[in-house]
Amino acid sequence: MLKNLISHFKHSPISTFVAIASGVIVLATYILPLESLRSLILSWVVIASAAALLVGAVNLLSVHINKLSTTTGNSLYSSSLIISMILTFTVAFLPGNVDQWIFRYVQIPVESSLMAVLAVTLTYAAARLLGRRTDIYSIIFVASLILTLISSGGFIGGGFTWLKTMAGAGGRGIIIGVGLGTVTTGLRVLLGSDRPYSG
């Protein structure tokens, strides 16, 4: 019943009206002297984001619990996740810095190790790139990769400044494109053409 209710409101015109109205009001606060209203709305966003984060965590937990109860195959990962979540949540309420200990000696090393493996994998893939795809673009890519690594390695002092300038130019173009896309997306949401909240 709750799912039906949520689905109903997701697809109802009320959600669209709320989304458009909110965007227009916040946009208007930049034009009109309504900073207090904008701060009020933004404070609501802060609270709603925190709630969404909590809902996401609960949903993740429920999904894996359902997976444990229905899946007949390997459910080791789901069970590990559930145990980790419950354990970390419980530890946070304990006195002391036990949660910090988990963060320092579990989470940081695990994520750092994944990034380290990524470095090795990328090196291996770059070495075999020309074997898989022998064309001009692959050659250009490998060449630029090598130049970037040389520049980053500090093997040459200021000789590759022009390379940074070229990279910066490319970056500018990307940022401009991102900015234009952000404006377009915002207009689509304000006009109701795009409804990412409808699901």
């Binding site: 900073e35 904008r38 701060s39 933004l42 404070s43 966003v45 802060v46 609270i47 709603a48 984001s49 925190a50 984060l53 195959g73 949660d99 910090q100 963060f103 320092r104 989470q107 940081i108 994520e111 750092s112 994944l114 990034m115 470095a119 090795v120 090196t123 291996y124 770059a126 070495a127 075999r128 790139l129 020309l130 074997g131 898989r132 022998t134 050659i139 490998v142 990769l145 090598i146 690594l149 040389i150 980053s152 390695g153 500090g154 093997f155 002092g157 200021g158 940074k164 990279a167 910066g168 490319g170 970056g171 500018r172 990307i174 940022i175 991102v178």
Partner: protein, 968 residues
């Protein structure tokens, strides 16, 4: 059956009767006639006389040559009138009653089993077993008797709901070797599996010996959609078993078209199948196989009153097989559709003989085996199933049914229920059926489909030596009327009748198609001789008969075909239109409008001039309008027997295929691709080299590699250095930890020197983060790398924690930091009112903002949302600088913010190299420790990439050259 046309409540059907009476001044008992008596045909006068004298009209009365079937009907009608006590003269009221009962909610379908108790009664007499099968799919098995010897299963009643959706198998074994077991009044009703279509198996008797199956009734709804097989074995080696009043009604699988198999008798020996009734709806759409084996080696089996009604597969054209007799010896298949043949009033009717199929004709699909018939007599009649359509609106036919049903049986039977399902005593119903004879066949049909009576496909085989004796059926229907022009042999046929015949559907049998049994073909045959005296009291006459007798005989088929009956051993002569029928033909141009028009034209329609446009009466005026549902003279469903014969092996294959498909919803784990051994070795070698090169200098604390000289510091690093060096003691500095734990190694190395420099200069750090892991990373960084500072150990910095909302949170914080981050009181003091936050009212009150991030989007958000707030609108030169410590991967997208004019980012430190450059000349910390590993690792990576690229590139070139040489 739909009798709406005869029972239209809106129509005052009695008007024509009233007019008839008024015109003729005919009253009950008054046989003197009326002013128009002269115009009254003799047959009508005789009928009136007979009715007034309460004397049934029979053949020989008043010299009227009334057919036996009609006289029987009259007798039965009189009986029913006496018993019913209603207005017997108004058959329309009876029709209304009948329709009312039809439309009445049907009983639960198991009324005859309603007396079953849930508990099992183990007594032999009145044995009751009520079993509600669980809804979950599962097999059901019931074995009664085993070797029952002389067991008796009197009044055996079984009611079971087999699995529904799951479609488990159903098996019921009664008797086993029953010896002389008796299954009197055996009733079985079971709903087999529904959707999934489990198999259904019922074995009665086994080696029943002299078992008796009196009043055996079986009703089962075989699986529907799933189309599982249906199997019913009665008798087995029945020997002298008797199957009196055997009735079987089964709806074989529907959509899926499971196989249907019925084996009666096996080696029946001298078995008797008296009043054998079989009604089955074979698979429809899917066209499952249908098999019926009667007798096998029946010896002297007798199949008296054998009734068979089946709707063979339609669309899919499943196989149909009917084996009667096999080696029948002296079997007799007296398919008496009514009373005994001797009294059969229809015996003398010149029905069209059915062609003989011959000895060994077999249906191609739809097999009718009459091989080795011996001296078997096959007196049967089977109109073409596709011709007769009771439900579709064969008004003539329906009318005939109605009139013939009157007075038959003790009570009007439900037209849509099998006899043994009616509330009435099944036996009585059966008796009524016996009395009604061939009429009972239509009562057996619960839901006549479009095939309607077409389903009454009694399989027939032509007698080898004698022509068919077409016994009673629906005589009018059995006599197709050819309305298209006068029949070649009936020159005296009135034109109107000929016209009607042209538009009439085809009935009868034709042997034109090779291999096609005559019984499944239809040919039109005109009704030529229909004795007028056979008609009853005009009050009781159905519409078809009263309006135009011959027209009423016309079938719903609209495709006229000339009859081409060729019966082996003789021809069936066409029926000649009796004079009274000819006289009844309503003629528009006649002075008196014809007797029929006078009699039949109700006052209501007298001046309407409504022309009938559909049906056999098309073109006539002032006729009763046909109801839409009755007037739908649609095409009969083609009975496609096809060429497909499904064997048992194929059925097994189908089951196997279904099992294979059923497992499609089970997810199959994807097998991982395995690498070749050389590739695996290369991967491990690269990993080992990189790990060795990176870990070794850190472990030994090496600082031997070259370090960039101070003058080679890039501009962004120099700017950052200068800004940090300009911080005064006690000034609040906002530090945002916005990186992920995975890249903490690089960013900690890049930022440790700057933060250390800030703390050394006396800056008050204020920590904030918009990432959930930010506060944890900040605590880890400060405690791990800055713990030598008192400012850190004494917790003199302020951690504002995690601020949710992303860009919105940054904008809100930049606009109003106090409201965005409400802090709880510490020791009764609001942190915003204590050092270092007591001077912070806006974000510009911070001396500097440092953002440590690995994501270019986060860096861009800080620049877009926060940096504008750092500029004093009153004095643009007074702005709070923003410094970013970023990962090397984000530098290309963040550098433009530094290179803009005016700069949005005052200083930029990128990666380990930037950190190392920052630390140069100030305080060499973590970045310097990692520099050797970083530099050597970069060098090794470059070497691996270059060497690998050169190797694989050359190999690819050589391979391509070899291919080119090979193709050449």
């Amino acid at each position: 059956m739909d009798f709406d046309i005869l029972n239209d409540p809106e129509d005052d059907n009695d008007d024509w009767l009233s007019s008839l009476r008024s015109e003729s001044e005919f009253t009950e008992g008054d046989a003197s006639g009326s002013e128009s008596e002269e115009d009254t045909p003799d047959w009508l006068s005789n009928i009136r006389e007979a009715e007034s004298q309460e004397k049934p009209i029979s053949s020989g009365d008043s010299g009227i040559d009334v057919d036996d079937w009609l006289s029987n009907i009259r007798e039965q009608e009189a009986q029913s009138q006496d018993s019913s006590g209603g207005d017997s003269s108004d058959f329309l009221d009876r029709i209304q009653d009948l329709q009312a009962k039809e439309s009445a909610p049907k009983p639960a379908g198991k009324d005859w089993l309603s007396g079953l108790e849930s508990d099992q009664n183990q007594s032999e007499e009145g044995f009751e077993f009520n079993f509600d099968k669980p809804q979950e799919p599962g097999a059901f098995s019931l074995d009664l008797g085993g070797k029952s010897g002389d067991s008796e299963f009197d009044d055996f009643q079984f009611q079971g709901d087999t699995p529904g959706e799951g479609g488990g198998a159903f098996s019921l074994n009664l008797g086993g070797k029953s010896g002389e077991g008796e299954f009197d009044d055996f009733q079985f009703q079971g709903d087999t599996s529904g959707e999934a279509g489990g198999a259904f198996s019922l074995n009665l008797g086994g080696e029943s010996g002299e078992g008796e199956f009196d009043d055996f009734q079986f009703q089962s709804d075989t699986p529907g959609e799933g189309g599982a097989a249906f199997s019913l074995n009665l008798g087995g080696d029945a020997e002298d078993s008797e199957f009196d009043d055997f009735q079987l009604q089964s709806e074989s699988p529907g959509e899926a078209g499971g196989a249907f198999s019925l084996d009666l008798g096996g080696k029946s020996g001298d078995s008797e199948f008296d009043d054998f009734h079989l009604q089955s709806e074979s698979p429809e759409e899917a066209g499952g196989a249908f098999s019926l084996d009667l007798g096998g080696k029946s010896g002297d089996s007798e199949f008296d009153d054998f009734h068979f009604q089946s709707e063979s597969p339609e669309e899919a054209g499943g196989a149909f097989s009917l084996d009667l007799g096999g080696e029948t010896g002296d079997s007799e298949f007296d398919l008496n559709l009514g009373s005994s043949a001797a009294d059969d009033p229809l015996a003398d009717l010149p029905f069209q003989e059915l062609s003989s199929i011959g000895e060994s004709d077999d249906f191609s699909s739809g097999s009718l085996n009459a091989a080795d018939a011996g001296e078997s007599d096959f007196d049967f009649q089977m109109p073409d199933p596709g011709e007769i359509d009771l439900s579709g609106g064969g008004s003539l036919f329906e009318g005939l049914d109605e009139s013939l049903f009157e007075g038959i049986g003790d009570a009007p039977l439900e037209m849509d229920e099998p006899p043994f399902q009616s509330e009435a005593d099944p036996i009585k119903a059966e008796d009524s059926l016996e009395d009604s004879g061939w009429l009972g066949a239509f009562q057996d049909d619960p839901e006549p489909s479009s095939g309607g009576l077409a389903g009454t496909a009694d399989p027939f085989m032509a007698a080898e030596k004698e022509p068919f004796e077409i016994e009673q059926s629906l005589p009018a229907v059995s006599q197709p009327v050819q309305a298209a022009g006068p029949a070649p042999e009936t020159a005296s046929l009135p034109g109107w009748l000929s016209d009607l015949q042209d538009s009439a559907p085809d009935l009868g049998i034709s042997t034109d198609a090779p291999g096609m049994p005559a019984v499944f073909k239809s040919e039109a045959a005109p009704v030529e001789d229909i004795d007028a005296s056979a008609f009853l009291n005009p009050v009781d006459l159905p519409d078809w008969l009263s309006e135009s007798g011959a027209a009423a005989l016309i079938h719903s088929e609209q495709t006229p075909q000339k009859p081409d009956l060729q019966v082996e051993g003789g021809d069936i002569s066409r029926a000649e239109l009796p004079s009274w029928l000819q006289a009844m033909r309503p003629t528009e141009d006649s002075a008196d409008g014809g007797i029929a028009s006078k009699i039949l034209s109700p006052a209501k329609y007298a001046d309407s001039g409504i022309e009938e446009t559909v049906g056999p009466l098309a073109g006539l005026y002032d006729v009763l309008p046909a109801e839409p549902d009755v007037a739908q003279f649609g095409e009969s469903h083609p009975h496609s027997f096809g060429d497909l014969i499904v064997t048992e092996t194929q059925v097994k294959h189908i089951e196997m295929l279904q099992e294979m498909i059923g497992g499609e919803d089970v997810a199959v784990p994807v097998q991982r691709r395995k690498l070749m051994l050389p590739q695996q070795i290369l991967r491990w070698v690269i990993t080992a080299l990189l790990y060795a090169v990176i870990f070794l200098p850190v472990m030994i604390g090496s600082r031997s590699t070259g370090f960039p000289a101070f003058e080679s510091k890039p501009e962004e690093v120099v700017a950052a250095t200068n800004l940090v060096n300009s911080i005064q003691p006690g000034q609040p500095v906002l530090v945002a930890f916005e990186y992920r734990p995975g890249l903490s190694g690089e960013l900690e190395a890049a930022s440790v020197g700057m933060i250390d420099n800030l703390i050394s200069r006396g800056a008050n750090l204020v920590i904030i983060s918009t990432q959930p892991t930010g506060p944890g990373l900040a605590e880890n960084f400060l405690s791990k790398y800055q713990s030598h500072h008192v400012h850190i150990t004494n917790k003199l910095y302020k951690d504002m924690g995690y601020v949710s909302g992303g860009s919105a949170a940054l904008l809100n914080f930049a606009a109003n930091p106090r409201s965005t981050v409400p802090l709880a009181n510490v020791d009764g003091v609001n942190p915003w009112d204590a050092t270092p936050l007591n001077t912070i009212q806006t974000i510009r009150n911070f001396a500097m903002v440092i953002v440590i991030t690995d994501d270019s989007d986060i860096a861009r958000s800080w620049v877009e949302q926060v940096q504008p707030k750092l500029v004093d609108p009153a004095d643009p030169s007074l702005n709070t600088p923003m410094i970013m410590v970023i990962s090397a991967q984000a530098e290309p997208l963040v550098r433009p913010y530094f290179e803009t004019v005016p700069r949005q980012i005052a200083g930029l430190i990128s990666g380990i190299k930037g950190g190392a450059l920052y630390e140069t000349g100030i305080n060499e910390r973590l970045a310097r420790d990692y520099w050797d590993s970083y530099k050597v690792g970069i060098a090794l990576t470059i070497l691996i990439i270059v060497s690998g690229s050169l190797y694989y590139f050359s190999r690819a070139i050589l391979t391509r050259q070899k291919k080119n040489e090979g193709t050449k």
